[in-house]
């Protein structure tokens, strides 16, 4: 079933190029829906009691010379991300298929979307380091093309920056993976997790962790390597932004949890404090930057840096609670920020701009449902209890109270305090945004303008996200119950 998950969008990607452009979007919906159905079927047949082992696994040799094997599988850590990816891709395809805003060159865009999906899903199911890296890279180029081909006015610079930054990160990551390979002679992730760093000297572990986590840090993005992100998000078309924030950023933190922490435990202990420090610095930095933004898309892009800071803090504690929090935070951020970008896309389509001053307030009066949804997504993102964003952030902060052995508890208390300040600032910028966009009277220039409230098609695309944000907020066990067993196995070393 894992193979089907990758083959479906891959075949779809090739097939769509042979279709007439008019039917491309509808075809994209069909393929992504089939992939989503496969992912859901996997989730339904997943054995939640057998936490340790990768399920639905496939293990076949591909290029024995360099130990490249097609080793795929799903466990409690990857399953939620697989479902999230499939869901967001299906919603993006649905968004492209709406009658009111058909994109230019639909065939190419759908093909790129499907190729991105292959790469993202592949990253989450790969159990061979090299395969992981290949899928990780597969995502990069189509995303570059989506930004460069369908982006805003300054798309060229943004796309260039995106690819330069992430290629640089990938290079460092590759060196780190090769270092690991040169010392262990295996690329098998299950084996490496099982060894938990035995046979690797302290120096190698620290260097390996530095390279691998450092390479992944660009993708997360860890402050101060984030500066590609606001431009990429601002310039990317709506589907690009949704996938960037919803899935791509998670590939970085997933890699840390899956590879860096369990395979190089001594390196993790040595460098986790630095990771945590950068994480909480990012939380506060992003919040302050958000307070000064004048563009909605840019604001939400910066907010991602902050949310990923909480995820990093969770990982940096190296405790089961912290890593569970990180995984939950990943999923919650994917859903909420995905929703936010969809909403901003809807606003841009109506107002022709995402500039906060140009919108000028009064969204709740002009389009009450769209405004209410924006309020909902914003309070979810600022971590209101009962909605998905809350648990990841709170548990990450809780885990900072008791970091793993070998870490300095006093330092983590400082992290906790800084992160706490970040939660206040996060609330501040979202409320300022709502104050300037949603509340207030409709400015004169828009009063005569006629545009509708949320359309039926938009409801279809957004409702799954709304429901999941609420459901995970009320029953976090939907995610935690799945991840917990796998996290324990990972930290125990197989």
């Amino acid at each position: 079933m894992t193979v089907l998950l990758l083959v479906l969008p891959l075949l779809g990607c090739l097939a769509v190029l042979g279709l007439p452009p008019k039917r491309a979007a509808a075809f994209g919906v069909a393929v992504t829906s089939a992939t989503l159905a496969t992912a859901l079927l996997m989730a339904a047949t997943f054995d939640y009691h057998r936490s340790g082992f990768a399920q639905f696994s496939v293990n076949a040799p591909w290029i024995p010379l360099i130990d490249l094997r097609i080793h795929l599988g799903v466990d409690g850590i990857s399953l939620p991300l697989v479902v999230l990816t499939a869901l967001l891709c299906a919603l993006c395809a649905g968004y492209l298929a709406r009658p009111s805003g058909q994109p230019e060159r639909p065939r190419a865009l759908v093909a790129l979307l499907l190729l991105t999906e292959v790469g993202m899903l592949g990253t989450f199911v790969a159990l061979n380091l090299l395969l992981f890296f290949v899928f990780f890279e597969v995502v990069l180029v189509p995303m570059y093309a989506v930004i460069a081909g369908w982006g805003g006015q300054r798309r060229a610079a943004a796309a260039r920056q995106f690819i330069l930054y992430t290629l640089l990160g990938s290079g460092v990551l590759l060196v780190g993976l090769l270092l690991l390979y040169s010392r262990t002679s295996t690329m098998d992730m299950v084996v490496l997790v099982g060894r938990a760093g035995t046979g690797l000297s302290h120096g190698v572990q620290v260097l390996g962790f530095l390279l691998i986590a450092g390479g992944l840090a660009v993708k997360v993005p860890v402050w101060p390597l984030h500066s590609w992100l606001p431009d990429a998000h601002t310039q990317a078309p709506t589907v690009g932004s949704v996938l960037l924030a919803g899935v791509l950023l998670k590939m970085g933190t997933y890699g840390m949890v899956r590879i860096a922490v369990p395979m190089l435990p001594e390196g993790a202990v040595a460098l986790a404090p630095a990771l945590g420090a950068l994480g909480v610095a990012g939380i506060v930095y992003a919040a302050l930057a958000c307070l000064a933004q004048r563009d909605l898309k840019r604001l939400i892009a910066f907010s991602s840096v902050g949310h990923m800071g909480f995820v990093l803090l969770g990982i940096a504690t190296l405790t089961p609670v912290g890593i569970n929090a990180a995984l939950l935070g990943n999923i919650a951020h994917g859903l909420i920020t995905g929703l936010l970008f969809f909403l901003v896309g809807g606003i841009a389509q109506r107002y022709g701009s995402t500039d906060i001053d140009r919108i000028g307030g009064g969204l709740l009066a002009k389009a009450p449902r769209l405004g209410s949804l924006l309020v909902f997504a914003a309070v979810a993102s600022l971590g209101l209890p009962g909605l998905a964003g809350f648990w990841g952030e709170m548990l990450a902060m809780l885990s900072a109270f008791r970091p793993a052995g070998g870490l300095n508890p006093a330092l983590y208390l400082v992290f906790l305090a800084v992160a706490g300040l970040g939660t206040v600032l996060t609330a501040a910028y979202f409320l300022v945004m709502l104050r300037r966009v949603a509340q207030g009277v409709v400015p004169p220039r828009w009063t005569a303008e006629r545009f509708g409230d949320v359309t039926a098609r938009e409801w279809v695309a957004w409702t799954p996200l709304l429901v999941l944000v609420l459901a995970i907020g009320l029953w976090p066990r939907i995610v935690l119950g799945v991840t917990d067993g796998a996290v324990r196995v990972l930290l125990r070393g197989g």
């Binding site: 010379l65 360099i66 490249l68 190419a108 090299l130 290949v134 890279e137 189509p142 093309a145 460069a148 081909g149 798309r155 060229a156 260039r160 920056q161 690819i163 330069l164 590759l174 090769l178 040169s182 500066s227 431009d231 930095y285 302050l288 930057a289 000064a292 933004q293 089961p320 609670v321 569970n324 009064g362 709740l364 009066a365 309020v375 309070v379 209101l384 209890p385 009962g386 648990w391 709170m394 548990l395 902060m397 109270f401 008791r402 906790l416 939660t423 206040v424 501040a428 409320l431 300022v432 709502l434 104050r435 509340q439 207030g440 009277v441 029953w475 976090p476 066990r477 935690l480 119950g481």
Partner: protein, 649 residues
């Protein structure tokens, strides 16, 4: 003297379906929000019915509990696990005990009256249905706050009422001041919430649980420093939600919301959540005298700030808001006295719920008849034109200033006495401040009543903000009947609750017994007489300043320093501005500058250095498919080469 807070029975019988208390208003909110305009016609009826139904059910629960023995009165109902993770178990359940049931009756009782009042008050609002949806949402969250059986569940309700409060303060979207006030309320609360959250972390990290029964059973095993830290962090949370010093300045601004909201959320229920939190955590506060002392100091400081600023405002709702700040200060002072005061704090909370809600509804009724005017300098002589409003408001006023026999007399006098029962300087300081507060309260409330209902009809020659003449008139029945019921409560509740120690005995399983001090720095009888004397002095002073001579319609600009300071909220906002807002703005601007110029500059420079590459990439945007294939190929070759190099090294 038994404290049963750590013990709980499984809920059976009627209590077994106590989740209905939460479900009814939640359902109301969902139907009204999801149903949209289709529910416009009957939305307000449904909204009121759900709260009334909850009240009736709460009443039934209350009577079924009063029949039980004291040790059986605390019942718990497990619903589900928030988090099932091994090391981290957080359950969601309800605790039905005398304390929570008391709050259930207050919230749903006053809530139902205010829902009914809103039917008339909001009848001209296009969005009345959404208003009722938010009110239902608030009631559900507030019930969750008081019914939860652990701190995490309490936190959910805590943030939920904060959200409802935010939505309702910002209700009038055409007023920029309303949106700003809503934002301010949420943010200042967020600071307090952080304290509450960290207190919960501390319990979790040290005790491994956040359920009340387990926390209260194990708390004694912790070192005293940790206990003190927990109590202070909980106090920070209480300060945010209850508008206590130094987080008090959001509450008067919150008066931008519609008046029923001010009555329900910002007077009777939500803002008293801080008092509930401390009273609920009594087994923790019992262990730390220092923690309680700081609670008492905060309460005392706040009650004085509220009184002083309340004397200076001309906005009828703001005066009432500062009065709320000050009265909650009394409650916090009371619960800070520990076993000498928990029950007294709750008693004042209940009587205050009646008379302050009544006063706000009365103020709303005045505004309803006066084209939404709030400036008392434009009122005057209204008593003849609004007789029911005048009488009900007058009774609430007498109750608030502690007129003998009325509610406030019993509840506030008891707190002042208990404060004088403290040893040494504490008795003098806290008792003296509480006594002074009683005099000031009488002053500003008398001033309010005189300016509004007596004197010349100053509105006769004025026009309202929208250019109409004033035609004051009595409000419709749906508004006056709730006012009458609350007025009855203002008169009788104090006597009813204190006769034969009714409330104190009822609350004993939750709060422990009420202790009586052994020695008072001033004899109790003298305290009572002093309180009455100071009250009369306050009333008399107000008569001298306001009643005896005509009130100028515009407020005098040349005033003495104390009045200027009071008008500026004793510089609370200026302090916030200087300490937080301005440095924040500078920092933000600096960061954005760095982000745009610094980090990006480095990367762009790097890009320029790699001139050939970036040139190729620039071209790629036109023929990206080809270059994509090329990059893939190039990347693959690189990977394979590197792997082979490692393999054969």
């Amino acid at each position: 003297m038994t404290n049963l807070a750590a013990d709980a029975q499984g809920a059976t019988g009627l209590a077994g379906s106590a989740w209905l208390l939460l479900a009814l208003p939640t359902l109301g909110a969902i139907v009204l929000l999801v149903g949209g305009r289709r529910t416009n016609k009957w939305g307000h009826i449904l909204g009121s019915a759900t709260v009334l139904g909850t009240f009736v059910y709460g009443l039934a629960l209350f009577f079924s509990t009063t029949g039980l023995d004291a040790y059986k009165r605390t019942q718990e109902l497990h619903l589900f696990a928030w988090i099932p993770v091994n090391a981290l178990k957080v359950d969601f359940g309800l605790r039905l005990d005398p304390l929570s049931l008391t709050f259930v009756l207050l919230i749903t009782g006053v809530g139902a009256l205010i829902h009914i009042y809103s039917v008339g008050y909001m009848s001209h609002d296009r969005d009345r249905r959404r208003f009722f949806a938010y009110l239902n949402l608030f009631v559900a969250a507030m019930l969750l706050l008081v019914l939860g059986n652990g701190f995490v569940t309490l936190y959910f309700g805590w943030e939920g009422v904060g959200l409802a409060s935010y939505l309702l303060i910002g209700w009038y979207q055409d007023r920029p001041s309303a949106a700003t006030a809503a934002k301010k309320a949420f943010l200042m609360n967020r600071v307090g919430d952080l304290g509450l959250a960290v207190a919960i972390f501390l319990m979790f990290a040290n005790l491994g649980t956040t359920q009340y029964s387990e926390v209260f059973a194990k708390i004694g095993t912790l070192p005293s420093g940790t206990i003190l830290a927990i109590t202070l962090l909980l106090l920070l949370g209480a300060c945010g939600k209850s508008g206590q010093f130094p987080l008090q300045s959001w509450l008067p601004d919150a008066m931008e919301g519609p008046t029923p909201v001010s009555a329900l959320i910002h007077a009777a229920t939500m803002v008293t959540a801080g008092v509930y939190l401390i009273a609920r955590s009594n087994p923790i506060y019992d262990l730390t005298g220092d923690g309680r002392l700081i609670v008492t100091i905060i309460g005392t400081v706040t009650l004085l700030i509220g009184c002083i600023v309340g004397c200076a405002y001309d906005d009828i709702k703001k005066v009432l808001a500062y009065s709320t700040v000050s009265q909650i200060g009394y409650m916090i002072l009371a619960v800070g006295l520990g076993p000498f005061g928990y029950a007294l704090g709750i008693m004042h909370l209940l009587t205050h719920g009646f008379f302050k809600a009544g006063l706000f509804l009365g103020a709303g009724s005045v505004m309803h008849g006066m084209n939404d005017e709030v400036d008392m300098r434009k009122f005057g002589g209204l008593w003849r034109l609004m007789p029911i409003t005048f009488v009900t408001f007058g009774l609430g006023y007498l109750a608030l200033i502690g007129f003998p026999g009325l509610s406030g007399y019993f509840s506030k006098d008891a707190i002042i006495e208990a404060a004088f029962g403290q040893e040494g300087w504490r008795g003098w300081a806290f008792g003296g401040a509480a006594l002074l507060g009683a005099g000031l309260t009488a002053f500003y409330m008398t001033r309010l009543v005189l300016m509004t209902f007596f004197g010349e009809k100053r509105w006769k020659d004025l026009k309202s903000a929208d250019g109409k003449d004033f035609h004051p008139h009595e409000s419709p029945k749906s508004m006056t009947i709730p006012m009458i019921i609350l007025a009855i409560g203002s008169v009788g509740a104090g006597a009813f609750l204190s006769v034969g120690n009714r409330l104190v005995d009822w609350l004993e399983p939750s709060l422990g017994g009420l202790k009586e001090s052994e020695h008072f720095v001033i004899p109790k009888g003298t305290v009572t007489i002093l309180t009455i004397v100071l009250m009369l002095l306050g009333v008399g002073a107000a008569w001298l300043f306001v009643g005896r001579k005509p009130v100028p319609v515009t407020r005098p600009a040349r005033v003495s320093f104390p009045v200027r300071a009071a008008r500026a909220d004793l510089y609370g906002n200026a302090l916030n501005e200087a300490l937080f807002a301005r440095p924040g703005t500078w920092l933000t601007r600096a960061l954005v500058f760095v982000d745009n110029k610094g980090v990006d500059g480095v990367v762009n420079g790097l890009a320029a250095m790699l001139g050939g590459t970036s040139g190729r990439l620039r071209r790629a945007q036109t023929g990206f498919v080809r270059s994509y294939a090329l990059s893939m190929l190039g990347g693959s070759i690189l990977v394979v080469a590197a792997l082979l190099a490692v393999r054969f090294s």
